[in-house]
Each structure stands twice: as structure tokens, then as C-alpha cells.
């Protein structure tokens, strides 16, 4: 089809256009068709510059200046720029899809700006944690503003929902890899707010997120955001962690209460009795063995999914509809988009069916990978839940901490450091450090 089309345009380019009438009496001049230019190129670089700048400032505010207020104002700025000014479209959250499409489809070239938006926050996260989430991401900033009365999400639920971002990430990438579309962008519940407009379903989702966000801290970031999942992984390997207390932790637990995202981890309770330890170890063993099984099972299931999922691709869907209705081809009457599409199919069924078949193959591969990924995520999560990490102090979880800097000023030691509290007022650390047996 493309070939014939190219041919057609070529042949027509070969000849001059049929001349319009010459307006001999008024010698009227033909108007020029206006073509308002696309967004100027240098503005893209501005976007990148703003991103880089914000990231730098955020890191400084979190790790050096340790100021919640600074982070707050920064997030307001990025909300204004990336959110309401750029309407949420150039955005790091969707970028992984462009990257994978660029890898899988030779015809698609990824603009450098997109690569920058994909890589910069991750690099920063590898060194300084999720500074992007704290002060640069408009989605995060918006939700951060919403928090009114954050309820504490029970740990088990937190963990269960915590795997959703990874699965959504997998789906988004698999889908994008087939060149079908960008579901992560399509089902983004925040962007309609920036645009003050959008399809009905998404507006409802947006409203839901808004309301939820008043009582659950950053619901999208914690339980859906696929880029957040990537950042989480990166932050786990981060060089510098967000530290609550400048020096010794008095274990007053105030920081734990200060965190609206349940990211603060308690000191691990001393040593476990050996009689408890053995079953723990055995379970861990089984779970580790379970991981590959889960992966294989997931991949198998994914392979089965190719057919129904591929239907989400317009070409495949059209091809199937064409085959179904081939017996009764559409004729005249008022044309709906669907019937028009069918007509196109009739025009060149060979090309359509071929590309549909190819697409289905691509979906097979993608879904296979997706299934495997889901299995992996589940397995690893289960294993990680059976590992014990030794902690002596209250400290934020590297992965889960959005580096919003709320906890800093809740720490008496910090208050002493900045001179808002005379050291004499401190509870003697010894009195609390030693656990009290009842």
C-alpha cells in the first residue's frame, strides 16, 4: 500500500499541477496557505536546561541545605513550568516508552531531549536518590500539594500495591515496543489536570487521584508511576542517602510520624531467636527457587496473551474486522469511521493482513517478555520480603523515600543543629537508646 502510494505521489509530482484560472479582469493574487511553525527548537533545549537546573537545585536543597521550604518552592516552580505551562508533555514518565520504541522500530528516531528526560533523573537518582520526585516532577509536586490528612497505609497493602508500578512499566514498555502506542501517557491521570481538559474517563481518574491524594500521600507516585519504579531501583543503589538526623539518632520516632509516605524504617529489632530463624531461612530458600518458576509461568501466560492484546492495535483490529466482514463488504450509505476503515482494508487487503500478521508476531514476543517480567517482579518482591536488613537507627528507605525533606525538621537533633533548640533541652540519648524491657 505504501509503495503504491509513494508511486502515486511520485507520478503526480512528475507533472505540473492543473493551472488555476487566471483572474484576467481583477488580476487577483492567490493567497498563501499559512503554516504556523511548530514549537521552536531552542525551546526544547530550554526544557532540558530547566530539568537539569531543577535537578541540581533539588539535590542541593535536600542534601546540603536540608530545607523543606526550598524543596516546596522548587516543586511549585516545576509544577508551573512542566505542568501548567508545558501541559505535562515533555515528561520523563513517558520517556521509557519512546526509548524502547526507538530500540525496536528502526523508522522511529528518539529526539535527544527525550533521551535527556529519560536519563538525567535516573543518573541523579543513582547518586542522590529520588530528587526528581521531590522537586522536579510536576505529577509529584501536584500530589504533594494535595496532602491534607494522610492516612497510614498498612505495610502489607503498601507492599502489595507497590508491585503495580513495575507491572504497569512492563506493560507500557511491551506495548510501546510493538509500535502500537504509549499506554503510560494514554492513561496518565494527572495530565488532564494540567490541560484542564481531556477524555471523560481520564477526567474521572484525575478527580479520583485528586481526592485520594488528600488522604493518601502521593497515590500515583507510590502505586502506579512506572518511571517511579525505575527511580526506585536506581535510588536503592544511590551513593548518598537522605539522612534524617545529622548525628546520633535518639530513636524518638518523630520522623516516622512525619513521613506521609510510610517510607521511614524502624531500627531492626535485635537478633531473632534461632527457633524462629530456621523456618524463616527455609521459606527464603523455597521462595528463591520459586522465582524462576514464576518467570517461566509468566512467560507462558504472556505468550497466550498475544492475541487478545494485539487487538488493541488498530491495524490488527481492522484486519480481524475485515476478515470477519469479508463476506459482506460495506457499500454505500453514511460512512462511520469504522466503515471507512473497512473500505480502506478492501482497497489493499494484502498489505493490511501482512502488516497485521507481522504485528501479531511482535506482540507475541512482547507479551512473552511482559509475562516473564511480571513473574520476576512477583518473585523478587516475595524474596525481598523475606530478607532482614539490620538497622540501628530510624532511616528512610532508599527506594521508597521521595526526598521531600519533611522529616528533617521533625528531628530534635536537626533542630539543635540549626539552633532552634538548645542542646540542653535534648533528652539524653542514652536514656532512650537502650531498649526498655517491660
Amino acid at each position: 500500500m505504501l509503495a503504491t502510494l509513494a508511486l502515486l505521489t511520485f507520478s503526480s509530482l512528475a507533472e505540473p499541477r492543473f493551472p488555476p484560472p487566471d483572474f484576467s479582469e481583477t488580476n487577483h493574487q492567490l493567497p498563501i496557505t499559512t503554516t504556523p511553525a511548530a514549537r521552536a527548537e531552542w525551546l526544547q533545549y530550554l526544557d532540558v536546561a530547566v530539568l537539569a537546573g531543577c535537578l541540581g537545585v533539588a539535590v542541593w536543597l535536600i542534601h546540603k541545605h536540608r530545607s523543606r521550604r526550598g524543596v516546596f518552592w522548587l516543586s511549585l516552580c516545576s509544577l508551573a513550568y512542566f505542568g501548567f505551562w508545558r501541559k505535562g508533555c515533555i515528561c520523563a514518565i513517558g520517556a521509557p516508552q519512546n526509548i524502547i520504541l526507538g530500540l525496536c522500530e528502526a523508522g522511529y528516531t528518539v529526539p535527544l531531549t527525550v533521551i535527556a528526560f529519560f536519563a538525567l533523573p535516573l543518573i541523579v537518582a543513582l547518586f542522590a536518590g529520588r530528587a526528581f520526585c521531590a522537586g522536579v516532577c510536576p505529577h509529584g509536586a501536584l500530589q504533594d500539594l494535595l496532602i491534607i490528612k494522610p492516612l497510614k497505609v498498612p505495610a502489607w497493602l503498601e507492599h502489595a500495591l507497590g508491585i503495580l508500578p513495575f507491572i504497569f512499566l512492563g506493560f507500557g514498555l511491551a506495548f510501546a515496543a510493538t509500535g502500537t502506542g504509549f499506554p503510560i501517557c494514554r492513561y496518565d491521570p494527572i495530565v488532564p489536570i494540567f490541560r484542564l481538559n481531556g477524555p471523560g474517563l481520564l477526567i474521572a481518574l484525575a478527580a479520583l487521584t485528586l481526592l485520594l491524594g488528600m488522604f493518601v500521600g502521593r497515590p500515583y507516585c507510590r502505586f502506579l508511576c512506572p518511571y517511579g519504579a525505575l527511580l526506585k531501583l536506581a535510588a536503592l543503589a544511590s551513593k548518598w542517602r537522605v539522612r534524617v538526623t545529622p548525628d546520633v539518632c535518639t530513636q524518638c520516632q518523630l520522623c516516622a510520624n512525619a513521613c506521609p509516605f510510610g517510607a521511614m524504617r524502624e531500627p531492626s529489632p535485635g537478633t531473632i531467636a534461632p527457633k524462629l530463624l530456621t523456618p524463616e531461612r527455609r521459606r527464603l530458600g523455597w521462595l528463591v527457587l520459586l522465582v524462576p518458576a514464576l518467570i517461566v509461568g509468566g512467560a507462558w501466560l504472556g505468550g497466550r496473551l498475544a492475541v487478545p492484546v494485539s487487538r488493541l492495535n488498530p491495524t490488527v483490529e481492522l484486519a480481524e474486522r475485515y476478515l470477519a466482514q469479508q463476506k459482506s463488504p460495506v457499500n454505500y450509505g453514511v460512512m462511520t469511521p469504522e466503515t471507512l476503515a473497512l473500505q480502506r482494508a478492501e482497497h489493499d487487503p494484502e498489505a493490511l493482513l501482512k502488516s497485521a500478521a507481522d504485528l501479531q508476531q511482535r506482540f507475541r514476543r512482547a507479551c512473552l517478555a511482559f509475562g516473564g517480567w511480571v513473574g520476576l517482579v512477583l518473585g523478587v518482591k516475595l524474596v525481598s520480603l523475606s530478607l532482614r536488613t539490620l538497622r540501628t537507627d530510624f532511616e528512610p528507605d532508599r527506594g521508597a523515600c521521595f526526598a521531600c525533606a519533611r522529616c528533617f525538621r521533625s528531628c530534635p537533633q536537626e533542630l539543635v543543629r540549626i539552633g532552634q533548640l538548645p542542646a540542653s533541652e535534648l533528652p539524653s540519648s542514652a536514656s532512650i537508646a537502650t531498649p526498655v524491657k517491660a
Partner: protein, 337 residues
């Protein structure tokens, strides 16, 4: 006191939450329904009621059909002993009654129209000039271009003259057999009250009837016009209407042919249909209606209608040959007994 106040505020929050949810849910529903409606295109350009032809009006039936030998078929013409000459691609192809291929002339550029004399001499119109071939297909002459805007789309010939319809310059050119331009016919002229041709797209045809008068289609005015060989405007007939009796769209008829008894065969694009009119311009009958040219109707057009259209020619027995410019089918239509 503190705690009761707190309760109040929380209750408030939840009630408000619930309310807002309800409202927004409703909005979502609304939007959803709107999307549903969009599926049945509210912006459809509806001519479906014009795409059925009253079978009582159709007085011809298809007796044969064959494909044009090359892509991009443009025009057909009838030569001696009902040989059909077909301009398609860079070729001019002759076919006898039974559809067996005969003479074929290959050209450097697309052939657009042709007229054939009794002795088989072929006057072939290319975009901006005319070439003459003998019955064997040997090139006898190449006439120089009548003008740089010229765009020849129709030709006719008599004993002594050759007429070419130049759509680009909106004029009928009258040549003698030697290729000398004798007269420009039909250019806008107040004194001789010649209205002038309106040719929005490259569809412009000329035929000469037995009485020596020129029949020319003036698509922009939706009518057929009569001229003398000297270029006097003799009159016109036809009216714009989507209905079967008139000429549809912005610019029709696009092509014409004359039956042996002088009646008109007209071709239209947009609503592809071929009709017969009496010599006085009264609508008589339909040769083939829109439903006969499904592909044509559709293809008219992915980009535009200049790609579509039909052409007709009539042989000595009064059989009408219809060329479908989109599918390249040639149909032979016989009058129903």
C-alpha cells in the same frame, strides 16, 4: 471540644468527597456517551439517498467488460469498424469488437485523449501538444504546443478539421489537418455574448455532430454548449442538481459522447453516472448509475476527485463503451430491447 471539632471536620471531608465523586462520575459518564455518539459520525456528508438509481430509468445493460491494458486510463474513442482506442498510461491501445488487442503505440508521456479518422489516422492529445499517427501507428507529425498553460483533455475530428479541448486555457482549438491553428473557440467575449468556459479540473471534452455543430461541456456552469465551427455561441442546456435529471457536484458533466442519432451521452464524477439526453437537452434515461461504479464512487477520492471520473464512447451500432478511470474497466453497454 478539640476532638468533637475534629470529628465534624472529618465527617465534612468524607461527605464532600462522596459528593464530588458522584458529580465527577456523572461527568465521566457524559463524556463517555459523547464519545459513543462520535462513533456514528455526526459530520457525515450525506449523499447516500442519491446513490441509488431508480431501476425504471436504467435502459441499458452490460454485455461485456474488460480491463484497460495499462494503469491510469484516461479516455476512450471509437475509430473505423468500431475499433476502440484507449488512452492509458503512456500508451494508446486499439481493441477490436471482441476485445482482442490490436495496434499499440507507446509514448514518452501519458496519453490523455485521442480522435481517429475513418482512414485510421490517429490524432493523439498529450498534455500540452498533439501528435498524429497513421493507421499503422507510425508518427506522421507532432504539432507544436498551443500554449504553456495548455492541458488537452478532449479531441474530435471531421473531414477537414481537428478540434482539441484545451482545459488549461479554457478554450476549444480548431486545427486544419496540417496542424495549423485556425481558430480559438469559446473564449469569454461580451460582444459575441460568449460566456466562456469554467474548467475547475482537467475534464473538458468536445464532440462534433453530423450537423457540424460543436458540442462542448462547460462543467463549471453545469451545462452543455453548442458552437459553430466559426465559434459562434449557438446555445446551451443543462442545470446543476444532485438529482438524476441535472448535473451533480461543482463541475459536471466531465465527458460526453454522441449517439448516432445525435442524442447526448454524458459522464459525471462525484456521483459517477452515465446518462442519455435528447438532442434538445431533455433528460431521457440512465446508462449506468452510481451503484454500478462502487469503486469509482469511493476512490473519488482519497485525495480528490480529479483522480476519478468516467468516459464514454459510442460505436456505429449505438453501443456505449464506458471507461472507469479508477478501476480501468471498459464496459460495453447495450440498449435493452
Amino acid at each position: 471540644m478539640k476532638r468533637e471539632f475534629q470529628l465534624a471536620s472529618r465527617r465534612k471531608f468524607f461527605s464532600q468527597t462522596a459528593g464530588a465523586m458522584a458529580i465527577l462520575g456523572a461527568i465521566a459518564l457524559q463524556r463517555g456517551q459523547a464519545a459513543e455518539k462520535a462513533a456514528t459520525n455526526p459530520f457525515a456528508y450525506d449523499v447516500s439517498h442519491l446513490q441509488k438509481t431508480d431501476p425504471k430509468l436504467i435502459t441499458y445493460e452490460e454485455t461485456a467488460r474488460w480491463k484497460a491494458p495499462h494503469a491510469e486510463a484516461k479516455r476512450i474513442a471509437i475509430g473505423p469498424e468500431d475499433t476502440l482506442y484507449l488512452c492509458s498510461g503512456n500508451y494508446l491501445t486499439a481493441r477490436n469488437r471482441s476485445g482482442d488487442r490490436g495496434l499499440e503505440i507507446a509514448l514518452a508521456e501519458p496519453s490523455r485523449c485521442c480522435a481517429v479518422e475513418k482512414d485510421g489516422t490517429i490524432y493523439l492529445g498529450l498534455r500540452d501538444h498533439i501528435e498524429v499517427f497513421d493507421a499503422k501507428g507510425q508518427r506522421k507529425a507532432t504539432w507544436d504546443s498551443p500554449g504553456k498553460k495548455s492541458w488537452i483533455t478532449g479531441m474530435a475530428t471531421t473531414e477537414n478539421e481537428v478540434y482539441a479541448a484545451d482545459a488549461g486555457n479554457r478554450v476549444i482549438l480548431r486545427y486544419d489537418k496540417s496542424g495549423k491553428l485556425v481558430r480559438r473557440i469559446g473564449e469569454k467575449d461580451k460582444e459575441r455574448n460568449i460566456p466562456g468556459f469554467i474548467i475547475p479540473s482537467p475534464f473538458f471534452d468536445v464532440e462534433v455532430s453530423r450537423d457540424g455543430l460543436l458540442r462542448v461541456n462547460n462543467p463549471g456552469r453545469h451545462r452543455m454548449e453548442l458552437y459553430t465551427a466559426d465559434g459562434d455561441f449557438e446555445g446551451s442546456w443543462g442545470s446543476a442538481s444532485m438529482g438524476i435529471k441535472g448535473f451533480c457536484g461543482c463541475c459536471n458533466p466531465i465527458n460526453l459522447a454522441l449517439l448516432p442519432d445525435g442524442r447526448f451521452v454524458t459522464c459525471e464524477k462525484g456521483l459517477p453516472r452515465v446518462k442519455v439526453y435528447r438532442t434538445d437537452g431533455q433528460f431521457e434515461s440512465v446508462v449506468a448509475g452510481v451503484e454500478s461504479f462502487v469503486a469509482n464512487g469511493k476512490a473519488c477520492g482519497p485525495s480528490d476527485c480529479t483522480a476519478g471520473g468516467l468516459d464514454a464512447a459510442v460505436d456505429a451500432q449505438g453501443r456505449i463503451y464506458i471507461l472507469d478511470l479508477v478501476t480501468g474497466d471498459v464496459r460495453v453497454m447495450k440498449h435493452r430491447a
